[in-house]
Amino acid sequence: MEKKDYKRIVDSNKPKENRIANSVISFLVGGFMGVFAHLLSDFYQFTFDISSKDAATFMLLTFIILACLFTALGFFDKWVNFAKCGLIIPITGFAHSVMSAGLDYKREGPIYGIGCNMLKLAGSVIVYGIVSAVLFGSIRYIGGF
């Protein structure tokens, strides 16, 4: 069989992803995450009488705990498959990546399983975050913007 024909048959049998539906779902899910974050942050600010920055940190902690717990209970993976970037781009995606990598490697033991592999996916975020922060920070510090 020619390579072209083969490629055509493979393409016609690929499951089609509806890109517009994906985009709308991730926009809506992300948007409601934002509204929920805002509500939670306001709630903390008025209940505990703290500054808006501390309230935002508490709100992020709440999201992280919930994402870790739901991943451990097993149904957060289905939500991520449904909402895709709506849950990956918010901080929940960071917590989910740490937790799911930990669950995958748990049976290899506490040191070489959990300890070594927990930050497997989240490590790239931390590495590139630190490198870009120091690089762009020195640009801003030296440039004096």
Partner: protein, 116 residues
Amino acid sequence: MTYLYSFLFVGIVCLIGQIILDNTKLTPGHITSLFVIIGAFLDIFSIYDWFIDNVGPGAYVPITSFGHSLIHGALARASDVGFFGLFLGAFDLTAAGIVSVIFFSFIFLLIFNPKD
């Protein structure tokens, strides 16, 4: 009204991520790393600060704010102790996020087993 701004800001950031994910060969790992770099880059000219002031707490939710907090802590320390403050202060603001992710993941990993 600020709730609407939060909705639009987080929604649009997620929408951009989804469009990149669907139309290129990049994986979610690439996209989150890219967004952290973008968040740090936007802070060179204080653009992300402007978003946080005007949008409110919603602007802390996307992963871009992680890059913003890293560079912000670094610059705050640098204004106190000079250039090497960039290295001392990078984790100042993000410490809560990273510590809580590692701590709670570890605790839940001890309690729960993977479900297949």
